[in-house]
């Protein structure tokens, strides 16, 4: 098994790795299943990524074959994407949409968590919480059907309402500009309830005596929410943000492909790396190329997290990833 042998950053390398294992042997022992698992299913697979630099051949099945018999071709597999006119636009869309999702999603989830925490009626809280999870159970494809019944030009409910109020119906499916907003709303609807639960878990771990002390000092509920609750769940917020940033180059393929599909008029604002690559490789494409793009997305994501984690560690060490 390969383990990283970096010393803990910021400290002098006083304790060797194996000494640490021996000293904390029980901790390492209970973490062993996870370590082995990640090794088997991730690290063991990494040599396969070499394919990104080879001409793909179905007959090279094992790692040995890939290393010895593979036909190397440098960065050729990346060309189909980077030589494309759309490379910049889809990359921009991916990052832009993901950032929007992270920001709006976090705000909404935190708000929901704080609000739910404020309410008194237990059954109301429990019921609404359970209900808020429903959208998460519906797959994006189902959502697209429902969306269609809402937004279709002729029979959609939204346009019917507009017409009833005297407005002209809008052809939502040809208006690219409206879609970032539509996507953000759909994302929040689907995920906010779920993410709020994470924050709720954090909130429950806050020492209740803090609130008691604050109310004795005369603080109002809003003050308590913003001065106590919010700062104390910040580490969780930051961790979640950092983890999401790691995936900032991976667009939400499932959502966008289900909702936008092959509707070209919406591509300018909704086409992301994943959907573009999917279409490009659908008929003339192979695993080497998709591996190459995956690698590109991972590397950028990794640097993003590295950078943000470093910044976080400087200013807010509790929230850092490692």
């Amino acid at each position: 098994m390969t383990k990283q042998q970096q010393p803990a950053q910021g400290k002098k390398k006083r304790v060797g790795f194996f000494k640490d294992v021996v000293q904390n042997r029980f901790s390492y022992l209970i973490a062993l299943p996870a370590i082995v698992y990640v090794f088997l299913f991730s690290y063991l697979c990494y040599p396969y990524m070499l394919l990104a630099f080879q001409r793909y051949d179905y007959t090279n099945n094992t790692i040995w074959d890939i290393i010895t018999k593979g036909k190397w071709c440098g960065f050729d597999n990346f060309k189909f994407f980077f030589a494309s006119q759309n490379a910049f636009r889809v990359t921009f869309n991916t990052i832009y949409l993901n950032l929007l999702f992270i920001i709006t999603g976090t705000i909404m989830s935190v708000l929901l968590a704080i609000f739910l925490n404020e309410l008194r009626s237990k059954w109301f809280v429990k019921t609404t919480q359970a209900v808020m999870l429903f959208p998460n159970y519906i797959s994006w494809i189902m959502v697209s059907y429902i969306l269609l019944s809402l937004f279709s030009t002729e029979y959609g409910l939204v346009n019917q309402a507009l017409r009833a109020l005297g407005f002209v119906s809008v052809n939502w499916y040809t208006d690219a500009g409206a879609w970032p907003a539509i996507l953000v709303i759909m994302r929040i609807w689907k995920g906010a309830g779920m993410n709020a639960i994470i924050f709720l878990a954090s909130i429950t771990s806050i020492d209740t005596t803090l609130y008691e002390a604050a109310s004795i000092d005369g603080a109002t509920r809003p003050q308590m929410a913003f001065r106590i609750t919010l700062p104390l769940i910040m580490p969780t917020v930051i961790i979640l943000t950092l983890l999401s940033l790691g995936k900032v180059m991976y667009g939400d393929f499932g959502m966008i492909y289900a909702l936008v599909g092959d509707n070209g008029m919406l591509y300018s604002t909704t086409d992301i790396i994943d959907t573009y690559v999917f279409r490009a490789l659908r008929q003339v494409g192979d695993i080497s190329q998709s591996t190459a793009i995956g690698m590109f997305q991972s590397v950028i994501g990794f640097f993003m997290v590295f950078g943000s984690n470093w910044i976080t560690r400087k200013f807010y060490p509790d929230g850092a990833l490692y």
């Binding site: 007959t59 099945n61 030589a83 499916y173 040809t174 092959d262 070209g264 490009a280």
Partner: protein, 500 residues
Amino acid sequence: MKKFLSLVLMCALSASLLAGCGSSSSGSSSAANTSSGTSDEIVKLLYVVPGDAPKDVERGLKAVNDKLAADGVGVEINLQYYAWDVWDQKINLMLSTGDKFDMFHVMNDRVTLANYASRGALADITSAMNTYGENIKTNCPELAIKSGQVGDVQYGIPAFWVESALNHQGLIRTDLLKKYGINTVPTTFDEMVSAMETVMSKWDGAQKPYLPMIGSAQVGGYFFNSDNNYVLYENMIYVNQDGTIQNYFETDAFKESCNNARAMYQKGLINPDVLTITSEQMNNQLNTGDWLVHSGTVGSITSLKANYPDLTVDDFAWLDFDTSTPEIRPYGTRNMQAVPKSSEHPEAAVKFVNWLYASQENFDLFIYGTEGTDYKKLDNNAYEAITQDDGNVGYNFSTWMIGNINFEYLDSNAPAVVNEHLYNIDQTAEDGIASLMTFDASSVQTQLADVNTQISAVIAPMACGVVDYDSNIANALDLLKKAGIDDVVAAFKAQYEASK
């Protein structure tokens, strides 16, 4: 002690892994090996296909295998189905990891045979075809055989199940024409449009009878223009029988298509949401019967009868506005069977298909099942499937995967004109000049992807009439050029010249 618990956990994990090792039979994803492949031993053929297994698949296959044994073919067939949603990934995976199977279905309109072949996935069956493929060659025209070749190597066994010279034609409902007072079937495009307008204005049904269309598929525009002498390849290359090969979007044919589509759109004959319509939705519309004209064909009309109880198979007329120009075959066939390199007996696949096309009896047994249990024969080469109480047939196999036009029965529930045109070889049709060649797009892959993106973005709206031609064409052509359409056309031309 919690230490004990963690130990227990570890043991449980390793135990389950070991148990897994023990029982990993890899079930039906491996062809049992009788490896030497001599014709004395029975070779097991595993055929991988998309879709879902019919309920009585075992019974059906047993009958087939019994006959195969009786005929001394030396092959026993087994089927493995994978759901449509995961078909591409699963096949890719099986090919990449060297899973053992012997034959799988290839659909050129999804992923081309050339694509698989160029990445070393397929076994060369040229000699097998020459030795064991006599019946296949007799029943498939040269054009179809060529569809299964890349370069001069045979990789695919073609399924010549339908006549492909259908592009410039359509279907119209005569029952609706009569209902709304139109007594003659339109013979020109304009007559058809005015018939559509009449019907639309008087329509009393629930959903409007728009022209069934999917935005992305309409780019070819065959239905909307009067140029009947061309075939469109790769959705962008115009190949005229007279030898012209050019960017389709610069042609007059395209201009005419857009203008006609625009006129229809403005007259309210095309769905305003046409660009988002999926093929599912289009099929839904076709199944309800709320349409007058369709630029394609329909199959069984049983579901239409739910809304139109008096509908019969004769209430459909064939629309062909230019009967003087011969129809053109764009390709031989798009469906074929291929053999993966990992198969240990590639010739078994050829032997099986050869047996299939040896006699009507063989064909019926594999495709239609057991007579009396799964289907019954009717007059005029028609048949009727016998459904069990759950509404499904006990056993059958799709003709579009491995059928052959010389053996197929006609569905007695499909429109008569559709059967006539789809399942009879059109003797007056010509093979398209580029139909013998398979285009290898890997050298212009980036441009192809970019152009396709632009086609969806700026061409489809024009082709469906959502926006008009004149104000948008200049910009569209410019974007296409920047995306590299000229490179694609040039590559096609070069390969065509080389193949001549």
